[in-house]
Each structure stands twice: as structure tokens, then as C-alpha cells.
């Protein structure tokens, strides 16, 4: 499973990269979503995959059973998901507002700060 998930993460990164390179900034957002999901998965998988044994301590015990999933990457990924969402929400608002102000979603046409005639 690890190998296949690694390949799947690679596919997500590749498609995310391709989308982020697009002219259309909405596609850029799609790429951002894909890549942040892929990054979260990467951290999670790097902590090793352990099926069906969540990191919980049973009632009455002081420590978890011998084999439980790695809790550390889970905590990291939880934080990352929320921050990734914050980034996404802000980027989406920026795209929306950018379209409102400039009437385009094409990144090379957004030239408010550096108008075309300034460049030789």
C-alpha cells in the first residue's frame, strides 16, 4: 500500500503543479487545493501506515496498546489542514476581488501595479 500511495501522492503533486502553472488563477487555486492535500498525505504517510488502531489509550490503562498509529504526524496534519484552509480561503477571496477590480482571471493580464507600457 505504501508504494501505491506514494505514486498516488506523486500524481496529485503533478496535477497540482500543472494547474498552478496555468494562466487562469482559478486553476491556480485548484492546484493549490490539490497540492496542500498531497502535502498533508505525504506527512501522514511518512509517519507509517497502521490500519485500524487509532492512537487512543483505553480506559484504565496508562499507555496505549503495543501497536497504535503514529500520533505525531496526525497532530501535524491536523494543524496543516486548518492552515491550508486559511490560505485557500484567502487566496480565493483575492482571486474573486481581483476579478472584481480588473475584470480578468488571467494572471498575465493583471497589471495594475506594472502597466504594460512601463516595460520595454
Amino acid at each position: 500500500m505504501e508504494l501505491l500511495i506514494s505514486v498516488m501522492v506523486g500524481v496529485m503533486i503533478a496535477t497540482g503543479t500543472y494547474l498552478m502553472l496555468a494562466r487562469n488563477v482559478l486553476r491556480f487555486i485548484f492546484g493549490l487545493i490539490l497540492i496542500s492535500n498531497a502535502a498533508n498525505l505525504m506527512i501522514f504517510v511518512a509517519g507509517r501506515l497502521t490500519p485500524e488502531s487509532p492512537p487512543l489509550i483505553p480506559d484504565g490503562a496508562d499507555v496505549p496498546p503495543d501497536i497504535v498509529a503514529n500520533a505525531l504526524p496526525q497532530a501535524l496534519v491536523l494543524t496543516a489542514i486548518v492552515i491550508g484552509f486559511g490560505l485557500f480561503a484567502f487566496a480565493l477571496t483575492l482571486v474573486y476581488r481581483g476579478y472584481q477590480s480588473m475584470g480578468t482571471l488571467m494572471s498575465d493580464e493583471m497589471r495594475l501595479a506594472e502597466p504594460e507600457e512601463d516595460r520595454q
Partner: protein, 768 residues
């Protein structure tokens, strides 16, 4: 004259004037009382810890060399400030001028007295910056600004090289203290870094002292007011490079590299500059080029390096400072009185300006090297030292001879012609200069005569201790005399007078001829400088145009390409990936649900990338997000899965809402096809997979996890370890995370609020 505009009446320059006269005078007097001790060979050291952690000390070394320089700086400084108080005293910016001049003098004194090389460098840069301000003092003239900037850039670049050399030398010698470094000459000369150290130090010294090919800035620096030229370009700043070479001579001198670099550059500069001096008609420019000649001669004799050569160098240093400062101040008086500095115009001023004429003639006779002035002794000893050299005898003597003969002729041009013959018409009627301005030239000329008649005084006070310091041997005997016997040097002097007289006789046709030669010469340094600057600007524009395209796609392409190549190369170079993958164990135990999730996520991602339908894209993103959540569930991360599901739902909803007001992904009939981006993306994806596989092949360090597992219940009273980590062990991280979300929400709110007030989209269409 520009300085005359907008005058404000002040007596002797007001407070700025007398303060600026008193300070250098006081320093001079204080230094003079140290002369007896130094002339006995004593070296005074004094230190104060400045930046102890970096081994930078504000330490002073007072030996013959630094004392000679300090006396010249403060003594000529006092005469120049006295002169300036009259010359510029009514200038509206006079106090500013005094400030710059004092800053310069402070830097110069620090430079020559510093025992710590870092401190020396700091003072070196103080002189660079203050000379920039002084040369550009008439800042409303484009020529002044250009000259100032040119001097700053040339000497500043050399300063950077010097800094690199200082750091290297400090590491080699294990100290930045000159008193330590100077005693380690043999070790430094044998060190592999010796050659770069010499090159870097000489880059600093040659730019500062305007040695060929960095000579072009000095004549331009004559845009400065005349007292500045007299001070900076005769006695002080341009001699800083000479000082550096003399100071470092015991540590890095005495090798073939040192000998040939200095003698060739110095000799060439001396002769070349003397020829250029013949070309000029503006007397101030003539003097500027003769200063170059003197600097070249000094460099030449430091390079020659024998005890006689160093002796001659120290003597000529003082001789030149005395006569050149006097002549610069003299031409300032003439300029003030007549309104011109043209050699062709000025004739017969002697009757109208007798005192100026006396000072000028005495100084010029010293410059020409005629007895009984000290200039004669200086030239005699240059010849004597040159003739006794083992290697390079013809080159050194020849260069000194050519330069001296030309100096003889130039002395006639600057001091003989303007004051003798029939009085000529000048823009203003000639009149004698004021006392405050005459004091400087008279005192300096008087000293030239006094030292010529009584050479024992200058020998004991300055030349002998200076020679000991530069040669690094306090046992060298120095014996100066005006005339003792008819020897080779004396005969050479007579030949010099004859040659010089011939050159003076034909100097006007010679000037025209030289003018034609230089017109035809394709290599011009000054316009070349402009081309270098233009080239730099063009290079900057070119690289900005290419690196900073302003196109988001290109920036991102660079970022992703760098990521892929850097990480990929690292994996390849480190051989991080083992390819003994066990496919059977990989597939073993794989259930339908696993396959389904893998395929759905991969397919969803690919379809998002390829579709041009917004709806398809959103649905595919949802599929990917939920697939990721399922993976979290399958592999024992229920909390993460819940969060992922929530967030993913919000993402899809938000994108859907936003898209109600956004256009389609592609314009009609235009598909999004980018093969090169596809290649790069696949590369980045492959590298990412490889990194993850490589990580999975290695061992995992579970120490942190173990710690959390053991302490979660006993210490934090939580049974869900992930939650305990988030809200207890790493609570500050979680707090930061909340802050990020809040800031994002506030920023988004601020962005969206603006949209209610105007509709620029419609406005834009109207314009179109």
C-alpha cells in the same frame, strides 16, 4: 566663480572659520612636541578596545611614517582652513564645507595613525565619503556631481578590495594589529595567500592614489573648490594609497611581484602623467597631472625598496606636499584675483601680485629641483637611489629622469610665464591677494627653502624616522646634504635642467602636437568610464527584464523547476532510492476499498487538471478531498479524517459560491494545452513520489511519539493522544494556527468589503 554667488558677509568665516583653523593648528602643535621622541627611533603605541569580540581595537601607532603624514595633514590642514576662511568664508554653505573638511581631516589622521587594520579601513572609507562630499561641493553643477561620483566609485571599489585583503591578511597573520603584522613579513611572504593579499591591497592603494590605469578620476576631481584640491590632491587623500603601500612594505613588500608591479605602474604613471600635464592649459589641471606624476614617483620608489629608495621616497613625499600645496593655493589666489587659470592668458602678473609671485616662484623652483631648494635634494636622492639599484636600474632612473625633466618644464609653465613678461589682459584686473590667503603659500614656500638650506633638520625630524618605519629597520643611517661632490646623480641633474629647459622652450608647439596625438588616440579613459557605467546600467536592465518578467507563470515555472531539479539531483547523487521493491508484499492484503480510493483520488486529480468545465473540476476536487479523508480513516486517524471532511466540504462550497460570479475557465474555443508545463509537472510528481518512497525505505525515529504515548495520560490526563498533543504539548502551535485562520478571515473580509462600494468592472468596459 560659482562660489562667489549668494555671498553672506562673515569675518574670517565666522565661528566655523576660526574653529576649523584652531583644531588642525592645535593638533599640529601637539604632534610637533612628539617629534624629538620619534626622531630618536621611539614608537608610541596606544590602544583602546573597540569591538573586543571581533579583535578590533582602536589603536594608535606613532612612528616616523605616521608622524610625518600626521604633521603634513594637520599642518597643511591648518594653512588650508585659514585660506578657505577667506576664499569661501562668505559662501552661504561655508559651515557645511568646514564640516566636510574636518570630517575628512579626522578620517585622514585616523587612517595614518591607526594600528589596527580594521580601524584603518574604517578611516579609509571616511576619507572616501568625505572626499566625495568635498569634490561635489558645488552640487548644482553636473560636472561636479559626476566627478564626485566617479571618485567615490573608483576609490570605493578599491576600498572593498582592500577590505578583502585586510581580512585575508588578518587571518594569515593571526592579528589585525599592524605592530604585530609588520614583524611577520617572512611568514606572510611565504604564505600561499600572499599573491591575492598583495593584489587586493594594491587594488585599494592604486585606486586611491590614482595609479595607471585608475588615474582618470584625479584630474576630474579638480571640480572641487581650490582649497580642497590643495588639501586632498596634494598632501592628503591621494597619498593615502602611497601611505598604505609604505606602511605595508615591511610586511608584504620586497618580493619580485611587489617590485615589478609597483615600479612598472609607478614609473608609467609618472611619465604618462607628466606628458599629459604638458597638454593642459588650465594651470589647475596642469597641477593635477603633476600630482599624478608625484604619486607615480612615490610608488616607483616604494617598489624599488632599497633603503636608499625608501629614503628618497620619504624625502620626496615631504618635498612634494610642500611645493604642491603652495602651488595649488597660489593658483587659487590668481584665479580669485584675475578670474582665469588659463596658462595662455596669464602673463606678467609679478608686478601686480609680487607676494604671490615670490611664493609661486620659490615653490616652482623646488618643483623644478633647482638648488638650493629642498626639491633639488629630493631629486638628487631619487637619482642616487635609482642609479644604485641592482635590478630595474634603467627603468627606475629613466622614469625618474623623464618625469623630472618634464616637471622642470611644467614649473616654468605654472610659475614663470604667468608672473613674468608683459602684463596681459585678464577678465578681472589683477590685484594682490589677501593676507589670509597668502599665508599658506608663503609658509610652505619658506619651508621648502629652509629645508633646502638646512637639510639636517628635515632629515632628523621626518625622513630618518620615516625611513626606519617603512624599511622596517631602525639602524639605517640617513644623511641628507645639498651638495657634496660631483657624482653621477649631480651630472644627471644638470642633464635634467638642460632637457627641461629645451622642453619649456618648445612647450607651446609640443602642446599642440600632443593635443593632436591624444585626439587620434582611440583609448580614452574618461569616456570609457561613462561606457562602463552605461554598460552596468544596461546589464542591470537586461537581467531585470529577463529575471523579473512580471509574469506569474514564469516565476512559478522557475520555482517548480528548481524544486524538481534540486531534489531530483540530490536523490540521484546520494543514491537515496533503493530499487529492490517487493511488489508481491505490496499487493498482499490489498482490499477492494484500498484500490477504489487510490483510483478515485488519482483519477479525480487528473480530471481536475484536464477539464475545462468548472463543474467537473469542483466535483473532482471534492472526490479527491473525500478520498484523502477515507485514507485517514482507513489508517487510524479518525480526528484528521473528520477535520478533512469538514474542510473539504467548505472548500467545495466556497469555490462553488465564488464561481457564481466568476467567468468560465477558458475562453470559448481555446483549450488549455501546455505540453512543457506537463513535462515539468510530471517530473515534479515523480520526484515527490521518489522522496516519499525513499523516506518509507528508511528507519523511522519514534522517540517523540513514544514520549507522547507514555506521558499523554499520566501527565496530561488525556486518552486521545492526538488531541493531547494539539491542546497540551503543542498548544502554542495550535494557538498560532488559530491566529492564522483569524488573520486570513479578517483579510478576506477586508477584501470583500471593498466590493460593495464601486463597480470598476463596468467602468473598465466603458473605457474600452
Amino acid at each position: 566663480m560659482a562660489e562667489a554667488a549668494g555671498e553672506v558677509p562673515r569675518v574670517a568665516g565666522g565661528p566655523a572659520g576660526w574653529i576649523s583653523i584652531l583644531i588642525p593648528a592645535a593638533i599640529f602643535v601637539w604632534l610637533v612636541q612628539l617629534v624629538p621622541a620619534i626622531s630618536l627611533g621611539e614608537v608610541i603605541l596606544w590602544a583602546y578596545d573597540w569591538v573586543p569580540s571581533l579583535d578590533i581595537r582602536l589603536s594608535v601607532i606613532l612612528d616616523g611614517l605616521s608622524l610625518t603624514f600626521a604633521l603634513l595633514i594637520s599642518g597643511i590642514g591648518a594653512l588650508v582652513t585659514l585660506y578657505s576662511a577667506k576664499y569661501l568664508g562668505n559662501h552661504p554653505e561655508y559651515p557645511r564645507f568646514v564640516l566636510y573638511l574636518m570630517a575628512f581631516m579626522f578620517g585622514m589622521l585616523g587612517l595614518v595613525l591607526a594600528d589596527n587594520l580594521i580601524a584603518l579601513f574604517v578611516f579609509w572609507e571616511v576619507t572616501t565619503i568625505s572626499s566625495y562630499l568635498l569634490i561635489g561641493f558645488n552640487s548644482d553643477e553636473a560636472k561636479s556631481r559626476r566627478s564626485a561620483l566617479q571618485a567615490l566609485l573608483v576609490t570605493g571599489t578599491g576600498g572593498l578590495a582592500l577590505l578583502a585583503g585586510i581580512i585575508m591578511l588578518g587571518n594569515v597573520a593571526g592579528s589585525f594589529e599592524l605592530s604585530v603584522i609588520l614583524s611577520q613579513g617572512d611568514m606572510i611572504r611565504a604564505h600561499p595567500l600572499y599573491v591575492p593579499i598583495v593584489i587586493l591591497f594594491l587594488a585599494g592603494a592604486f585606486t586611491k592614489s590614482a595609479q595607471f590605469p585608475f588615474h582618470f578620476w584625479l584630474p576630474n576631481a579638480m571640480a572641487a573648490p581650490t582649497p580642497v584640491s590643495a588639501y586632498l590632491h596634494s598632501a592628503t587623500m591621494v597619498k593615502a594609497g602611497v601611505f598604505l603601500m609604505a606602511r605595508m612594505n615591511p610586511a608584504i613588500g620586497g618580493t619580485d611581484l611587489w617590485f615589478w608591479t609597483l615600479t612598472i605602474a609607478g614609473g608609467f604613471t609618472a611619465v604618462f602623467a607628466s606628458i599629459l600635464a604638458m597638454r593642459q592649459t588650465d594651470i589647475k589641471q596642469v597641477l593635477a597631472y603633476t600630482t599624478l606624476m608625484a604619486l607615480g614617483t612615490l610608488t616607483l620608489f616604494i617598489g624599488a625598496g632599497t633603503s636608499d629608495a625608501i629614503k628618497a621616497m620619504m624625502l620626496f613625499l615631504v618635498v612634494h606636499s610642500l611645493y604642491k600645496a603652495a602651488l595649488f593655493l597660489m593658483i587659487g589666489i590668481v584665479d580669485h584675483a584675475t578670474g582665469t587659470r588659463e596658462a595662455e592668458v596669464l602673463r606678467g602678473l609679478g608686478r601686480k601680485m609680487p607676494v604671490t609671485a615670490v611664493a609661486a616662484v620659490v615653490a616652482a623652483v623646488s618643483m623644478a629641483g633647482i638648488p638650493p631648494l629642498v626639491g633639488f635634494i629630493g631629486k638628487e636622492f631619487l637619482y642616487k637611489a635609482g642609479l644604485e639599484l641592482d635590478q630595474g636600474m634603467f627603468w627606475v632612473t629613466g622614469a625618474a629622469f623623464a618625469a623630472s625633466a618634464l616637471m622642470f618644464a611644467v614649473a616654468g609653465i605654472v610659475a614663470l610665464r604667468p608672473f613674468f613678461g608683459k602684463l596681459a589682459e585678464t577678465p578681472k584686473p589683477a590685484h594682490e591677494g589677501p593676507v589670509m590667503m597668502l599665508t599658506g603659500p608663503l609658509v610652505l614656500a619658506g619651508l621648502s627653502l629652509y629645508f633646502g638650506l638646512f637639510p639636517d633638520t628635515i632629515e632628523a625630524w621626518l625622513v630618518a624616522p620615516g625611513t626606519w618605519a617603512v624599511y622596517g629597520d631602525p639602524t639605517v643611517s640617513v644623511d641628507l646634504y645639498l651638495f657634496r661632490e660631483v657624482n653621477a646623480a649631480f651630472i644627471l641633474s644638470l642633464v635634467t635642467f638642460a632637457t627641461g629647459a629645451v622642453i619649456y622652450a618648445i612647450h607651446r608647439p609640443l602642446r599642440n602636437w600632443l593635443g593632436r596625438i591624444f585626439e587620434a588616440n582611440p583609448i580614452k579613459f574618461d569616456p570609457g568610464w561613462d561606457r562602463v557605467l552605461d554598460g552596468l546600467k544596461a546589464l542591470a536592465a537586461w537581467q531585470t527584464r529577463h529575471l523579473q518578467s512580471g509574469v506569474l507563470q514564469r516565476y512559478l515555472f522557475t520555482v517548480f523547476a528548481t524544486l524538481g531539479v534540486a531534489v531530483g539531483l540530490t536523490i540521484w547523487a546520494r543514491d537515496a532510492l533503493a530499487f529492490d521493491l517487493d511488489l508481491s508484499s505490496e499487493l498482499d492484503g490489498l482490499l477492494f476499498k484500498h484500490w477504489a480510493v487510490l483510483i478515485f483520488v488519482a483519477a479525480g486529480a487528473i480530471l481536475t487538471a484536464l477539464t475545462s468545465s468548472r463543474m467537473t473540476a469542483i466535483v473532482c476536487l471534492g472526490v479527491v478531498g473525500i478520498g484523502v479523508a477515507l485514507i485517514f480513516i482507513m489508517f487510524s486517524a479518525p480526528d484528521v479524517a473528520i477535520t478533512q471532511l469538514l474542510v473539504e466540504t467548505l472548500v467545495v462550497v466556497l469555490v462553488a459560491v465564488a464561481m457564481l460570479k466568476l467567468p468560465h475557465l477558458d475562453l470559448p474555443g481555446r483549450r488549455d494545452k501546455r505540453p512543457w508545463h506537463g513535462v515539468l509537472s510530471i517530473g515534479v510528481g515523480v520526484v515527490s513520489s521518489a522522496v516519499l518512497i525513499a523516506v518509507m525505505q528508511g528507519d523511522i525515529d519514534r522517540r517523540l511519539t513514544d514520549y507522547f504515548e507514555i506521558t499523554s495520560w499520566p501527565e496530561a490526563y488525556g486518552r486521545n493522544i492526538v488531541n493531547v498533543i494539539l491542546v497540551d504539548f503543542r498548544a502554542l502551535d495550535t494557538f498560532g494556527e488559530i491566529a492564522v485562520v483569524v488573520v486570513a478571515a479578517l483579510a478576506a473580509y477586508a477584501l470583500l468589503r471593498g466590493t460593495h462600494y464601486k463597480k470598476p468592472v463596468a467602468a473598465k468596459e466603458d473605457e474600452a
